[in-house]
Subunit: 292 residues, 2 copies
């Protein structure tokens, strides 16, 4: 896991440097808006989605410079969704990435606008990246938009499900939309930038789909097994919101077994690829064993 730790650290550094270039400075008018955006973006997130995009791009031999704007755009979409999901009218949460949520630190209007403009800046970043051909930029924007739309569907479905007994198929659909789609877009974008073949793209899509499921299962586990302090976000939230989760349906032990099964399936999808997939395999292991 030492290689992976090194890889994640390096990703965070280069993606943060790119985000710093793409997001107007905190001195830009209206300053309160850009302070708020930077508060939420530079809050020490793990940068898992950008790292996945970079890892896939690297595996397929893409020029790393071509991956940075898209990896950063994906993080901007992710952060916008966190800011809006935390709003009082949605999940009403006051802790995120170990610090006050955007609307608590600033105010609701600013948080709504910060999320709105982050989404805009994400699409702008790709549209303006002259290192990538027009043809691929258009594909990347369509890919990211498709996943961003699914993410919103998932959030609405998730809110609909609160306090209800949700069948397991519906639960999976919610997560595929809410979490899986953007994780899939991150992996697929790396492959698109590297101009991977259709067959390779399919393998990456299947891997990402399993990885997204694994991510959600372990997210549900962490919510019941970890403290708020370790997570940097409110723990035990799902139970209080009476949300259906894997542990609430299967229990903790069975959920752990399910996670292990899905992990095996995810790395199995990489077997067909004649590419250096070590980091992608380690990422799946990292998600299986993560503590936050």
């Amino acid at each position: 896991m030492k290689d992976l730790e090194f890889f994640f650290n390096r990703c965070s550094q280069i993606v943060d440097a790119e985000l710093d270039k793409l997001i107007p400075s905190a001195a830009t008018q209206p300053a309160r808006l850009y302070e708020a955006i930077r508060w939420s973006v530079f809050a020490g997130g793990k940068r898992f989605r950008p790292a996945l995009c970079l890892a896939v791009g690297n595996a397929f031999g893409a020029d790393e410079k071509k991956l940075l704007s898209t990896a950063s755009a994906i993080e901007m979409i992710h952060t916008y969704s966190l800011i809006h999901d935390d709003l009082p009218a949605m999940d009403n949460d006051d802790l995120r990435r170990g610090r006050a949520t955007c609307h608590v630190k600033f105010d609701e209007a600013t948080a709504i606008l910060a999320g709105d403009i982050l989404q805009t800046l994400a699409f702008q970043a790709i549209a303006k990246d002259a290192l990538i051909s027009d043809k691929i930029r258009v594909k990347l924007i369509a890919e990211l938009a498709g996943s961003a739309a699914k993410m919103v569907d998932g959030q609405r479905l998730d809110l609909d499900g609160e306090g209800k007994t949700v069948p397991i198929e519906d639960l999976e659909k919610i997560h595929q939309n809410k979490t899986g789609a953007l994780i899939s877009a991150a992996a697929r974008s790396g492959a698109l930038i590297a101009e991977a073949s259709e067959k390779e793209l399919e393998a990456i899509t299947n891997y990402a789909s399993k990885l997204g499921l694994l991510f959600q299962i372990t997210d549900d586990l962490l919510d019941v097994t970890q403290t708020t302090e370790t997570l940097g976000k409110t723990a035990g939230k799902d139970e209080r919101a009476e949300k259906a989760t894997y542990p609430s349906i299967y229990g903790i032990e069975e959920t752990r077994k399910l996670a292990e099964k899905v992990h095996v399936e995810a790395v199995g999808e990489l077997d067909e690829l004649e590419k250096p997939t070590d980091i992608l395999r380690e990422i799946a292991g990292f998600i299986l064993n993560r503590k936050a």
Copy 2:
């Protein structure tokens, strides 16, 4: 003005048909979300921005089919901004386009998500339009994103200015961002799709800039001179919010004179163009004399 009325009606029809194709049906799950989007999008808006995009595109000889997705995307961005601006944390308004605002008819969470996904669908619509070359799609997305970012800046500046004495230069900057940028993007997009020359694009940019200013001046006038019923949105709002407006600074009569002066300047920008600009001139006249 009969030609213009015919032109506006035709634009509404073809843009509404395109929006109906681009936005998932109200039966799509999560249904509450798509019902809410359709409630706000199909509320009988004037479709001024799409009409401007079509009018410029027509003047420069663009194939009309190539204009539809972009014209509709601009309307989606406009509608998303209205939904979010009306939220309780922002302008807290309950009437828009003559009917209940999105969060009043549905709920706040749904209104936030409806605005979010409308922005996504706007960029997706252009990215996926195979009738337009990749090169121009990328330009259009960058153009629309640039204006959407300015719009958010403008809304934050506008909220900052409430209850304060705002100098006229700041007021103009707010409006250039909040209203002018998207109007400019609408006009410029039509020219980009038609592959207008740099010089032509510059003339259209200047025209659109004056048109945006004229739009805001008459908007301020309507807010103090018209009824809520005529406007289809709450009248007298600016005064109650203690917002600086042209009438509050110059008085109604001087503001009318200013509008006339800006109208002359706007149509003057078209004189250099050797293109059929009749409809563009009539649009400026329509904005000068509008009653809602």
